[in-house]
Each structure stands twice: as C-alpha cells, then as structure tokens.
C-alpha cells in the first residue's frame, strides 16, 4: 500500500482528519505514524488555548500604564476614555464577526474528536476502550449517560474517562475514572470550562482512580463543554493553575 503523502502527514500532525483510505493506512503503518509523531511536537506545544488569538479583552488596571511610562520614560498618556474599569466582571466585547463569509471556529472544537483519536493512536496513549469520542448511552439503571474520553495534554501522562450521569430526579453527577500518577505537594482538580477558556467552574479535588463528583444544578454543559483536569499547587490560590494534564470535550 502506498504511504501517505508528506503533506497529508503534516495535516495529520495538526490533528486534521485524513481521507478514509489514508487514515486507514496511517493506522497500520509504523513509518507514517513515526513521521506524524515527529512533526507534531510544534503544534502540540503551540496550539494551546493560552497562546491562541486574543479572546475577550480585559482592561488592565491603571498601574500597568504607570509602570510602562516609568520604564520607557514616555510622557504621553492614554486618553481617559480608555481608562479601564479594572474588573473582570465588566461585560466582554461582542463576539468578533467573521471576515467576509468566513466561519468563527471555536478553539479546538472542530478538531477535538480527531485529537482524541490521534492521541490514542499516534501517541500510544491509553484511552478508555470505545471512548474516543462522546458516547451517548443509557445506564444499567435507566439513567442517561454521556461518556467522554479525557485525552492527555502535551507532556502529560494523565488520561481518563468520564460519564455524565443524569439521575432519575434530574440531578447530574460526573463519574470520573482518572488514570494519572500520584502527586506530592500538589493535587488534581477537575473543571468545566467554556470554549473561550474564559469562564470555568471548579468541580473539586480528584485523585487517580474512580470517583463521583456532583454537578451544579442548572449548569449549562453546552456552555461549559470542556472537562479539564489540572494539577494545582498547594498555594492557597483558588484559581486554575494553568497546568492542565487531561481534557475532554462533552460536546465533541
């Protein structure tokens, strides 16, 4: 069988889906898989939400300009109309309209299912059997279940599977099976995050193994579809550390 073209392997390294015949070849060809693995370190490292094109603007407090003026010796001043209300609660600007006819693509959403497959296949990561994408099913006791695989993020060796279970009374829990190394001096926390990676809900401390986490009633999972496991230092800071080790998309 013919190998994939170099261009297709580059696209595979960017987590783009390949035509079926090439995808099938890639599955079974060690040479092509090794090539994808060699090409994907740059996209894996740079294609992260924190480095993505700017999202919502957050006006910095006035002291930031003061520091810039002090460091540069510039005496011009920004006009007062631009002086910010230094609050995160300020209303974010309206979503940026696409250019002529383009589509606004939420970060990662389009490639997410492929990412999960690619992570399992290419990196040899262990992802729960059959859980490479969101699976809707019905639990043994009649509860509705959405299953999502948690794929390891670059340079992390954590993965897992989570079920969102809707109980008979309408309440929801997350049943999380986390496969990750034990930590010392830090801990794992699970979050639901929106696509802009602006808003997030901490769902609590989790440990390697299986556990059940209650979901806040009324929380719109469509709005916060990214299930994220982070490593949090014991620093008393309740915000996300920025160190995510595994992630899945409930809406993939």
């Amino acid at each position: 069988m013919q190998h994939c073209t170099p261009e297709q392997l580059a696209l595979a390294a960017l987590q783009e889906p390949l035509p079926a015949s090439d995808a099938a070849h890639l599955d079974g060809c060690g040479t092509c898989r090794a090539e994808v693995a060699a090409l994907r370190r740059a996209p894996d490292l740079l294609s992260v939400p924190q480095l993505a094109a700017p999202g919502a603007a957050v006006p910095p407090p006035p002291r930031v300009w003061d520091a810039i003026a002090a460091a540069t010796g510039v005496t011009a001043v920004p006009s007062p109309s631009a002086e910010p209300a230094p609050a995160l609660s300020s209303v974010p600007p309206p979503p940026v309209e696409p250019d002529h006819g383009g589509t606004v693509v939420p970060f990662r959403s389009r490639r997410r299912p492929v990412l999960l497959v690619a992570a399992a296949v290419v990196a040899g990561a262990v992802v729960g059997a059959g859980a490479v994408a969101v699976v809707q099913s019905t639990g043994a006791d009649g509860d509705a279940v959405t299953t999502v695989a948690l794929a390891p993020l670059p340079d992390a060796d954590a993965s897992g599977v989570a079920d969102v279970v809707v109980r008979g009374d309408g309440s929801r829990v997350l049943e999380l099976e986390l496969d990750a190394p034990a930590l010392e001096g830090s801990y794992y926390e699970v979050w639901l995050i929106d696509r802009a990676v602006d808003g997030m809900f901490p769902l609590g401390v989790v440990t390697p193994g299986t556990q059940t986490v209650e979901l806040p009633a009324g929380l719109d999972l469509a709005e916060f579809p990214l299930l994220d496991v982070s490593v949090e230092p014991l620093d008393g800071d309740p915000t996300h550390s920025g160190v995510s080790v595994a992630r899945g998309d409930l809406d993939a």
Binding site: A10, L51, R63, A67, V74, G242
Partner: protein, 215 residues
C-alpha cells in the same frame, strides 16, 4: 505580490481593532495603520494610542494564561515596554501593530512558563536530593516543553509571509487547511505545502537547538 497582498489583510486582520469603540474618538485620532507607522518612527504618543487600543486584548491573553493578578499585569507591561524598546524591529508594512503586540505577548507568556518550570524543577531537584529518594516526584525529569515553546516561537519570528500567517492561523486560530485556503484565497495545495515545510522547519529547529540546549 498580488498573492501576498491578498493574503495580508485577512490573515493579519485576525487581530482586529475591536477594543476601541468607533464614534467615541475625535476625528483627529489616526487610524491603526498610522499609529503603527508613528510607533515605528518613535512617536511617544503612538505608544499611548497603542495602549489605549490594544492593552485590553494583550492583558486579556495574559489573564487567560495566568489568571487575573500581578503575573498577567507583568506580562502586559513587558509586552508594551518590549515593543517600544524594540520598535526598530517592527515593520509596519509587514504586519499591523496589534498582531505584532500579540506575537510579543506569546513570547512573554512562554518566557514566564519557562521561568516557572525552571524554578519548579530546581525546587524538586532540591527536594529529591534532600530526601535522597530514588525516582523523585512524577513531574521531575527532562520536560523540555517550556523551553521548546520559547524556541518554536522564536522560529516563527523568522518565517516570511505567507508562511507565518498560514501556520499562525493553524496554530492560534485552529483553522483547518481548507479554512485557511478560504480565508487567504490561496490554493489548497499551496497551503498544504507551506504547512508541511513549516512543520519540518520547526522540527529541525527543535532537533538542532533543542538538543543543544538540553544537552
């Protein structure tokens, strides 16, 4: 040149001037391109204008990476100071000022990550040594992600157009090659071959400099 020109405005226009509200400014304020030219020329007022228009987006990126607080404010400050002191390297004809600022912001975020990573590993090494334990904590060991990111961002700076715009749309806007073709008006085959060559170039940079750095 027509290809490059067709490419330039939509790609680099991905950082839009959404920060300032039209109509609130007096008619004498220059447009973004003029701010860029004056910035490059060292006009101090242009730094203030740039801050008015784009500090929110830059700080927004920093907050996304570090959460609100001193770290994000430091990064925002560093971006504008570095842009001003390095303005000789800014080419207003190659890229709009906001896109250049966002590029600097990526560097500053990656630099901060690399510093944190270094501190963490030093602390872990000290702890491991103190406890004289074989193995050590799970996060110890050679994790070159943070330093490799710094190298990769530097390599992006050395790419010409349209290669840089194409790979940035793939990396930072998560567009597929088909969407990039649509956005830029360049043929699919051209996009694919640029992506391939750029990924090879980035891999080579990691193999050469990354290996030297971590040796």
């Amino acid at each position: 040149m027509s290809g490059a020109l067709a490419l330039r405005s939509p790609i680099l226009g991905s950082v839009r001037g959404v920060d300032h509200v039209p109509g609130t400014r007096s008619g004498v304020d220059p447009d973004d391109a003029e701010v860029g030219r004056r910035f490059a020329a060292g006009d101090e007022q242009a730094l203030a204008w740039a801050y008015e228009r784009w500090a929110g987006q830059v700080h927004g990126m920093a907050v996304r990476a570090f959460g609100p607080g001193p770290d994000a404010e430091d990064v925002t400050q560093q971006v504008f100071v570095a842009a001003w002191t390095g303005r000789a390297r800014f080419r207003p004809d190659d890229s709009p000022l906001p896109a250049w600022l966002v590029g600097i912001c990526r560097h500053k975020i990656a630099d901060a990550w690399a510093r944190r990573d270094k501190h963490r590993r030093e602390a872990e090494a000290a702890m491991t040594e103190a406890q004289a334990r074989p193995g050590g904590p799970v996060t110890a060991g050679v994790d070159t992600a943070a330093t490799d990111r710094v190298l990769l961002l530097d390599e992006l700076d050395h790419l010409g157009q349209p290669q840089r715009g194409i790979i940035e749309l793939a990396f930072f806007e998560d567009l597929t090659h088909a969407q990039i073709a649509e956005r830029t008006g360049l043929p699919l085959g051209t996009i694919k071959s640029h992506i391939r060559r750029t990924l090879e170039r980035l891999r080579t940079r990691l193999e050469v400099d990354g290996a030297a750095l971590h040796a």
